[in-house]
Assembly symmetry: C2
Homo-oligomer: 450 residues x 2
């Protein structure tokens, strides 16, 4: 349908992307009578990405950390949810082009986020899956649990060890959480379930290019995190670059030393690149992009070249606070979404707002059962207290109450039983004996950005 | 690994298939010191199939109705779980052939079940998915929720109606439950979530070849079920055969009358065919097969041609009780699994057992919120009491306690909120505008077997 009707009286806000940024903008605009909202996403659900690693390691189901966008926004009668994909923007006529239709806007909010990238080595995608979508998480889950099944059947000790070696590339929050959960799987959850292998002999290797894990955190918390990981059974290797991933072999470089690790399972938790909308905004609306393709925004999160287009969330490069761009984390996205909603309402009254300012409530990363690190500004916590805070913060933010209840039940139960309930190997069957395609390329020496 | 070592002292039981039949046999043999058990399944989880339709309609996640086989059997130290596929049997040497290895048995229990079939029209599989596996359920879920999304975007009234028409083929328990859940989705759960369409205008058509729904149940319960379905908004058409499914059009035949229904979503709940192991047993072990490929078994569930091979569950055709073979339902499978375990133990003592006898505790089918039918022999219930029984029976049988707790929470919550929590459209993206491949074949006039 082509919305080329006469300009309707309410201000038309179009939001592209139903992640934290887009959803929080939509929610904050949902009760306004002065605007109509159209939220466009190619998926029909909002995904609580910070818990995606728990899907990858079989603790939660995708449905536990997702909520249908329509359901979240059903009470906002001014809001229309559209499952579609934006293919182009025409700022001169204030239109966006969808698959098979166009849509007019008065204010356009772009919040399409980022995906992982492989520093130019896209071939690694097939051997070292990343963790951005539900499908990514299910692919990781499939590989992880197939590896244990294959090891159980393998009689050659060397091959068996390769099946029981898990390499996590990238020591940011995702990598730390993944490695911790993998170690817990091997050393606790799966311990009594195999007959031929001893799962506690599995090796989990966490690789980080910089000199400590959780680089955005204060050094003392990085040290705490590394100690907790080591105690869980993770081998942490910092200042280490991956130079090659091929046919079950990961090649590492630590200073001048080169090492080869036989590992059948490689999980990618390093590097982000901007979604395709960044490029569209650059070509069509004169947006400036940073090195990874994120859109450089003005202090009010609009495009300097076009005040009716806003970019928020992970896709935005906001450099007007501190000396570096804001991190790509959920709290920044939520606050930006709410800021834009206020700004749009203010503008309708002819007023404006002071520049966006991120209020940092602290950051958290969980390492395993009873272990986490929390950076709350003045307070730096680790161990059990940080873990408790982590649990409560995540439950609090799980958008819909039914999800909160389910996840709480799952966690409560798995805390006491040490079982993981969602360990299904689904998708393509019978890949146990499948070998990974050989690859041999060298990675560019970019710093790892997580 | 080839297990061609000398005969070990414990009796080696090999079970193929981790459904209700195989799993209950394994559980009952799990504490015996006289046997070792190897349970082989191509999946790593047991699936609670009776609730699969709730995954297809977005109420539960696959993880909620699955339990890892290793986890269920981890306490049985005599039991080995193998994720593998049986490709052949060699009864003369008492060996089964797996992918890449062989395994010796003393007693072989085959419980590989059935899949759906299309009465010779296998092309229908791509346009009318069935409901046997997790992947099947996710495919149904994807199609159902994509249909609503496509309808929301469609401006042509006729095409929109086709997106909002759902045809369920087969009026057995699965078809009745699917149709009821679909009507609930359209009339209640999704009611306030769309802006362009009125989901309560969706049409759910339930087709049954025989003269009433739930043919295996007493006629008065069939009538109750039909009344409940009609009240929920389902259009029930009995004595109706599907003669063609092609490009969004289902052709029906009711007596001499032919009708064409424009429907984008067709769900298959009719017809079963035996799994491939039936044919292997027939070729290699002299088993007799019935019309749909199930294995005709002796009164002790063994093959008349080979007393060391047993067939149980849906794959077995057991005709030594009543005038017709036992139905392919979970209670029969569980009881057969437990019977075989007892029989194997008795045989080791040189004793035997009287023929297997199914003790029918009753049958249940749920139609929707607060509505079900229950046939408890003397008691025939419908409505809310039957629904309550249905809830408790299903929770009771959900094998692991963690699943019970989660499912109970989900149901409890969705009962009061009328929300469905797991409505993700996953897998191949952007199929909204995809058309179904045209097909034009006529269905054989076999009676519908559910």
């Amino acid at each position: 349908m082509s919305n080329t009707a006469t300009h309707p009286s309410p201000h038309r806000v179009v939001i592209v992307g139903g992640g934290f940024a887009g959803l929080y903008a939509a929610k904050a605009l949902g009760r306004s009578k002065d605007v109509t909202v159209t939220l466009i996403d190619k998926r029909n659900f909002h995904l609580f990405q910070p818990l995606l690693y728990q899907v990858a390691t079989g603790k939660l189901s995708p449905g536990d950390i997702s909520s249908p966008l329509r359901s979240i926004l059903s009470a906002s009668r001014n809001t229309n949810v559209l499952m579609d994909e934006v293919t182009d923007i025409q700022p001169e006529t204030r239109q966006i082009v969808l698959k098979g239709s166009t849509l007019e806007y008065d204010s356009l909010i772009v919040a399409t986020g980022v995906s992982h990238h492989y520093f130019g080595k896209d071939e690694w995608a097939s051997v070292a899956p990343g963790l951005k979508t539900v499908e990514d998480a299910l692919e990781m889950r499939r590989r992880i649990f197939l590896a244990f099944e294959a090891a159980e059947k393998e009689t050659d000790p060397e091959k068996r060890r390769a099946w029981l070696t898990f390499v996590v590339v990238g020591g940011g929050p995702t990598g730390v959480e993944l490695a911790g959960a993998l170690a817990e799987l091997a050393h606790s959850i799966l311990k009594n379930e195999f007959r031929s292998i001893d799962t506690t002999e599995a090796q989990v290797l966490l690789l980080e290019g910089l000199d400590r894990v959780l680089p955005p955190y204060p050094p003392e918390l990085s040290a705490e995190a590394e100690a907790s990981l080591t105690q869980l059974g993770v081998t942490v290797q910092t200042s280490t670059l991956v130079t090659n991933i091929s046919d079950g072999v990961v090649t590492l470089k630590q200073g001048d030393r080169t090492e080869q690790v036989q590992a059948k399972t490689v999980l990618w938790a390093a590097g982000v690149k901007a979604s395709a909308m960044g490029k569209v905004l650059s070509e069509k609306a004169g947006a400036e992009l940073d090195r990874v393709g994120r859109v450089v925004v003005a202090p009010d999160l609009s495009l300097p070249s076009n005040p009716d287009i806003f970019v928020i969330g992970d896709l935005a490069h906001y450099a007007h606070q501190d000396d570096k761009p804001l991190p790509g984390v959920a709290p920044v996205a939520m606050q930006q979404g709410e800021y834009i909603a206020r700004l749009v309402k203010q503008r309708l009254k002819g007023a404006s707002l002071p520049p966006f300012r991120y209020s940092d409530g602290g950051s958290l990363a969980v390492i395993g059962r009873n272990a986490a690190v929390a950076n709350l500004g003045k307070f730096k916590l680790s161990g059990f207290p940080a873990w408790l805070i982590w649990i409560f913060v995540h439950i609090y933010y799980l958008i819909e109450f039914d999800n909160k209840l389910i996840v709480m039940t799952q966690w409560f139960w798995s805390y006491f039983t040490r079982k993981g309930g969602a360990r299904l190997i689904t998708g393509e069957e019978g890949m146990v004996d499948g070998e990974l395609a050989p690859l041999s390329v060298e990675r560019e020496k970019e710093p790892v950005e997580v």
